[in-house]
Symmetry: C2
Subunit: 370 residues, 2 copies
């Protein structure tokens, strides 16, 4: 596998530090024995600090989408009214999961590249007491936009509804104080800000979410938070966990603990400034305004006269830099630089150099959507 | 982590060969790029050979329980009548998942240590045309018993019902020709016979299962086989896969391909003979008769006058051998030796030596349930 030399700059999987890769060489252990208890207790404690929460927190063996499904089936019943805030593909996905399990979903949608206006959320909740929960994407990976979760969550809390947060590509990289913002279920995944390979997801569960759990009638077994809770009390998971990914996450969290959350958050902000300035300096335009721009992924509009797939191919083949295209409806219209987890300003400089040379090779003359 | 020196003999997670651990040092790649396509296509092809199937086969990022849930929600509707064949904790779990999603489950139960009588299945299906599906545990990990799946599946096929098989601790170690036995969905998990860490599960899906899928109304999103199929056509998974575990599984499958399935199956049979003979030579008694005994896990009755937890503790602390207790209702009544995946007769000899010395230390005088 020649992957070692690649500068992987997609919004997850993200590059993993050598120490983390090294930690996965450890042999299997009994997942119902004392060594695993030590491991899961330490991982859970460290995650709670980075979630800034005293809520219960579970590590699940699945992708982020699995944890999104878990957040819904543990708190809602078929027929429940739900408000989904959709600003891109992942907000759409959250809404689709709720619909698949029988929720009655209404939607507030913002155009690609824009964030939700919190006042729209207030208006929708005030107009309809029957809305039980709000689904929000903190950071929309598909468009590189971060919603104003502080304001949205204050409104949802004022209105005493349940707040389910897809923080998959934000928490651990972008500030999200779960308790201060009273978020009920917050989910993320190991391959995002956590310097680890994919395979684990995490979910924090508030007392209000547990109250909802007790009435929630959506069918669940694999995702059952009460099972996760009762096993965690014995330092276990209900089903066999992805052990090697646990070893990796443990090491990733140790690295993050040394850097410290405020420094991590500032590093992501600095990397983003570098990316956005550099992209503009190449004559390209950004999908999102600075005011709503994500600190973990930057979306760039298709340069005029350039085929996005061709551009990404040249960047990959000539420069070993891997960028992401636009997902779904945005395919061919944007491309994206992921900058979360194990990332420095130098990594971004390499991306910008590669991008500049690739554009020159393809004869880019400037221009594109403003 | 001092795990390296441990002889881990539980029925999963199983010890992983050094080459497999080494393969997890590889850096992350784009899970929507050409390198992952090469990887998943190769892994899928190799799994299909070891499943002895031309059915579609999906690799899911979850535990075996997740794949059990997937098999149910993709083929059944709430209210469907289902027959569950329960011979231990995992058969019970399969039945509970179906019940959680609204199936009407009736059960044929065998006592701990016994297998299902296939004629009982025929009788139940002939007596009730409305039974749509049969849930069966091929190998019951909790009791060390293998059901006669060849006979059961022939009956289910004669009766044209859907056959869902928990083969988590059998396929890849014990013969299970999926197509010859006309099994509709067959699930397993990476930490069992596959010489890999936990984190991935696999499910094969027959044309009859796809026909059931088209009518199945249980809610599903994360587990949706149609999504898995459409992404696999492009060499992808719908959600971010556990990449490092994929690297491991790829290497594990390469090792298995070199050994060859008939040799693997015979090795598991030989290891089992060694374990059962050795346990008897120590004066202990086995939970299961030879005729129904599993080739991947051996359950041993509590020796008279010996506390099982104490015995496992001595074996672990004095000899670095990790065995499994009895799960659930069997806690304290049995203990288990796992012998699947990366296991040799020498590994079993080490277990038997440790066990003999631990029994002596604890003053075992012989005796216990016959």
């Amino acid at each position: 596998m020649k992957a070692q030399q690649i500068n992987l700059r997609i919004p997850g999987p993200t590059p993993v530090p050598d120490e983390v890769l090294e930690s996965m060489r450890a042999q299997m252990i009994n997942h119902r024995g004392p060594d695993f208890k030590t491991l899961i207790d330490r991982v859970t404690d460290r995650l709670m600090k980075l979630f800034q929460t005293e809520n219960e927190l579970f590590v699940l063996t699945c992708s982020g989408t699995g944890a999104m499904e878990a957040s819904i089936v543990n708190t809602l019943s078929p027929g429940d009214r739900v408000l989904a805030l959709v600003i891109g593909a992942f907000g759409q996905r959250y809404s689709e999961i709720a619909t698949a399990f029988g929720a009655e979903v209404s939607t507030i949608t913002a155009p690609y590249g824009e964030a939700i206006d919190p006042e729209d959320v207030r208006e929708a909740l005030e107009a309809d007491d029957s809305i039980k929960a709000v689904l929000v994407t903190h950071n929309e990976t598909s468009t590189g936009v971060t919603n104003d979760l502080a304001s949205i969550s204050r409104i949802v809390d004022d209105e005493d509804r349940i707040m389910l947060v897809d923080a998959i590509s934000s928490i651990g990289s972008i500030d999200l104080p779960v308790d201060a913002w009273r978020c009920d279920v917050v989910v993320t995944a190991s391959q995002k800000g956590w310097m680890s390979p994919p395979g684990l997801a995490m979910a924090s569960v508030s007392p209000r979410a547990w109250a909802a759990y007790r009435e929630a009638a959506m069918p669940r077994y694999n995702w059952d938070f009460a099972k996760a809770k009762s096993y965690l009390e014995n330092g276990q998971t209900p089903w066999t966990p992805a052990l090697s990914t646990f070893y990796a996450l443990d090491t990733g969290l140790e690295i993050m603990a040394k850097e410290g959350l405020p420094n991590i958050i500032e590093r992501h902000a600095a990397v983003t400034r570098r990316a956005r300035e550099g992209v503009r300096a190449l004559g390209l335009s950004l999908l999102a305004r600075d005011e709503v721009a994500s600190n973990t992924v930057t979306a760039i509009n298709k340069p005029e006269g350039i085929d996005v797939a061709e551009l990404l191919k040249v960047v990959r083949e000539d420069h070993n830099v891997v960028l992401a295209g636009g997902p779904g409806a945005l395919a061919g219209k944007i491309f994206r630089i992921g900058h979360l987890g194990h990332v420095t300003e130098e990594d971004i400089d390499d991306v910008l150099t590669a991008l500049g040379q690739a554009l020159e090779k393809l004869g880019y003359q400037g221009g594109g959507p403003a």
